[in-house]
Symmetry: C2
Subunit: 459 residues, 2 copies
């Protein structure tokens, strides 16, 4: 049988505007997983995907969890078997005032760099997961089947720490285990070069609330002798980094190693420009650890970031309140062998050890996942690299990832699978930010990439 | 003519429930001056006071300003002439969820320590200003007139920095200048001992916003090389105090002296218990400058407080955002000869000097007033002290004040008047906090106190 891939790519090209319409339908569903007010919307998004996958020809179903549902689908046959993963939930949209239009009313905006689909989730991750669905659609249409066995898993809790994922993988281990996992939740390298991520940082999320007086006080009546929790919070968090930009929590760097020299050499060949990278967001000076390159800061060094601060009066005008409490959300990106649970304890002990008298702290656990690193000996890695290189006309690179895709770690530890992490997002997609977008071209070439990858895997 | 005071006090006792009804009417008007959405309510409160003062027999009028209106009223005749000041605006009510009932639906709550009027503004300052109005009502009713000339000035911007006050005093200097000012916006000493405040701390309000990246970023993609403004803000504010609790802004203590030894001696005789004071709000350890007594921390030492913090994601759940900006509201209580404008500049320079590359800061001026100290040689001070002592059965004390009543400084500097600062609030009134209240007994004895004071002034 001759290779059906060229005919499939023609079908994909001819169907481009209908593929965009289908993506826009999914983008209209405000499936913000972290906000309980949007639970029904998450459910609606799962239903929409089940219907769409069934229409493509998958045996698809919605699976209840203690949180938002999973979508599982099966299709194709043959010796090779891949699990494809994406997530249908999206980040919150605040500050809403900074969006040019309703984040759940997707539009195609014309920009100097081409048309983009603008909406919350356009890039992270609805646009990306639909590239795979569309590729499968056209394989089925052209050949009547998929070129290999495909299992699909769409999650609805990726943006809120995936609380249901581990139990679900454990309960459905047999059904979900394949030869390898394909995860589409990452981006190109440098806007032109397709990339496969082979290392990912882990993530530890913490929220701390420091309480002092049992109610908000008047700063004139109590200011001086009464402890101010906002002062305590800033004092503690102000010490989270030293003058060299290193995190000061004791034991934080235990398990942090240096990447192999050949990996570092590969990074050098990418000609990464930290200045250009930071320039995209209005910055110019690397703010991480002194003496580390930009790629090291992103791919092989751990971080501590304050993601949210809240205390006292924050409205318009002024209120001379001495607040009774102060809250911070803090996250750590982890690398190598850093142990998230041990670091959670170390961070909490470090905070508690700095509390003055009369202050109490409570902590909230916002999830934890270790860093992960892939063994790339499975031929599906080289098949994917070849297919991406063919579609994009530039050799696909093996890169590190600064973000955390905890699912990759779970697939390794629970299902025993390595993960091929690739995707078509761009650095300027503004994921997690106002005016998130996904380039129409990237969506289209993403669909074509998966069509080629499926063909190469089965070859 | 025999002293009408006993008959007036009888009238006040007989009219107590109607006086409460009138106060509750005023408390139902949500005159939050700092919130532009409540501008009409401030106007309504001013209208209500004009009507009420006219009904008592004053020549009362509402006076426009560039902000919320003033209420000015004139009554009585004679050689002695006092200006009475209060403010009809109130603090915001957030967090609303911590109120037991709607803060603008005043109720009489029975408590183990007697009935209280619970509402925003019950104590600060609507309840207090009405003590004077009620006293005037019964002087008029019993004698047909007031015992001396009385000018009333009610302001509607005290809780938002009094932006219109100085121009209004300057424009209406002749009309408003009296022999002395009576200001009712303070409390008893120790719940039983009436007090006249002779020193007040000044206030400097600042808001700073530190900006880094030009939009919110994903902490996985940018965490490391991208500067985090929340980290910068906590680092700077975490250094605002040294290990001894002293403020580190250069020149901050210029002009801060020690109170005269006889004043300190008087404070000692008050037997102030810092432990009991802090115990009321769930605290036990004085958190101010090491080596200073609780009363020194409150009355003769300056402070720096963080009144509000805001950055990044602060809703439920977690968002791994690297925020583009971080904001703090900061205020300073000032003493002695500290120069607010010089300190504003010093604070701003201190912040700017600590900014790392790529960070910018903007400041918002939230008002400034120097500390003030009264010369108590005018006989109205001793008349007030005597009247208060008679009403409360305990010798009225000359005390310091930890709060800031900038109006006192303006009356001194613009109208050339000393101020008699007294009032009937209690430390547990929760002013500026949820569930603000004013004891019914204090309201009643406050009315009686002013009736006596007016009589003593005219005697």
């Amino acid at each position: 049988m001759s290779d059906p891939t060229p005919a499939i790519l023609d079908r994909i090209d001819a169907d481009q505007s209908r593929a965009l319409d289908r993506l826009m339908e999914l983008l209209r569903i405000p499936s913000i997983s972290t906000d309980p007010a949007h639970a029904d919307d998450c459910d609606t998004a799962a239903d929409w995907l089940v219907a769409e996958l069934s229409h493509v020809g998958f045996d698809a179903s919605k699976r209840a969890t203690s949180g938002h549902p999973m979508v599982v689908a099966h299709g194709g046959k043959g010796d090779r078997h891949v699990l494809f993963y994406g997530h249908y939930d999206v980040q919150p949209v605040d500050p809403l005032s900074q969006w040019d239009h309703n984040p759940f009313d997707p539009r195609i905006d014309q920009t100097p760099r081409g048309p983009v689909i603008r909406a919350r989730g356009a890039s992270d991750d609805k646009g990306q997961l639909m590239t795979f669905v569309e590729a499968c659609r056209h394989w089925k249409a052209e050949t009547g089947d998929l070129p290999c066995r495909v299992t699909i898993l769409f999650e609805g809790e990726e943006e809120c720490g995936s609380p249901s994922l581990v139990p679900f993988l454990e309960t459905n281990k047999e059904e979900l285990t394949a030869e390898i996992a394909l995860i589409c939740d990452s981006g190109l390298y440098d806007d032109r070069v397709p990339a496969i991520i082979t290392t990912l940082r882990g993530l530890l999320g913490e929220e701390l609330t420091i309480k002092g007086p049992d109610r908000d006080l008047h700063s004139g009546i109590y200011g001086g002798p009464a402890i101010n929790p906002a002062r305590v919070l800033t004092r503690i968090l102000g010490r989270l980094h030293d003058e060299q930009g290193r995190v000061t929590v004791p034991g934080f760097y235990d398990g942090v190693g240096e990447p192999p020299s050949q990996v570092k050499e590969g990074w050098k060949q990418l000609n990464f420009s930290t200045e250009a990278f930071l320039g995209e967001v209005g910055l110019s000076h690397p703010a991480g650890e002194v003496g580390r390159s930009g790629l090291e800061m992103l791919w092989s060094r751990p971080t501590a970031e304050i993601n949210g601060l809240s205390s006292g009066y924050t409205g318009d005008g002024f209120k001379t309140v001495l607040p009774s409490k102060a809250t911070a959300k803090v996250s750590f990106r982890l690398v190598g062998g850093q142990d998230p649970q041990r670091l959670r304890t170390a961070f909490r002990d470090w905070v508690i050890g700095q509390l003055p008298p009369d202050c109490h702290v409570s902590f909230q656990d916002h999830g934890a996942a270790p860093a992960s690193a892939m063994q790339i000996s499975n031929p599906i890695f080289s098949a994917t690299q070849l297919a991406l290189t063919e579609e994009w006309g530039t050799e696909a690179a093996y890169v590190g990832g600064g973000g955390s895709i905890p699912i990759a770690g779970y697939f390794q530890s629970i299902l025993g699978m390595e993960c091929v992490l690739t995707g078509f997002a761009k650095d300027d997609d503004a994921i997690h930010s106002p005016n998130e977008k996904y380039d129409v071209e990237n969506f289209h070439k993403g669909v074509r990439s998966w069509a080629r990858i499926l063909g190469r895997i089965a070859a």
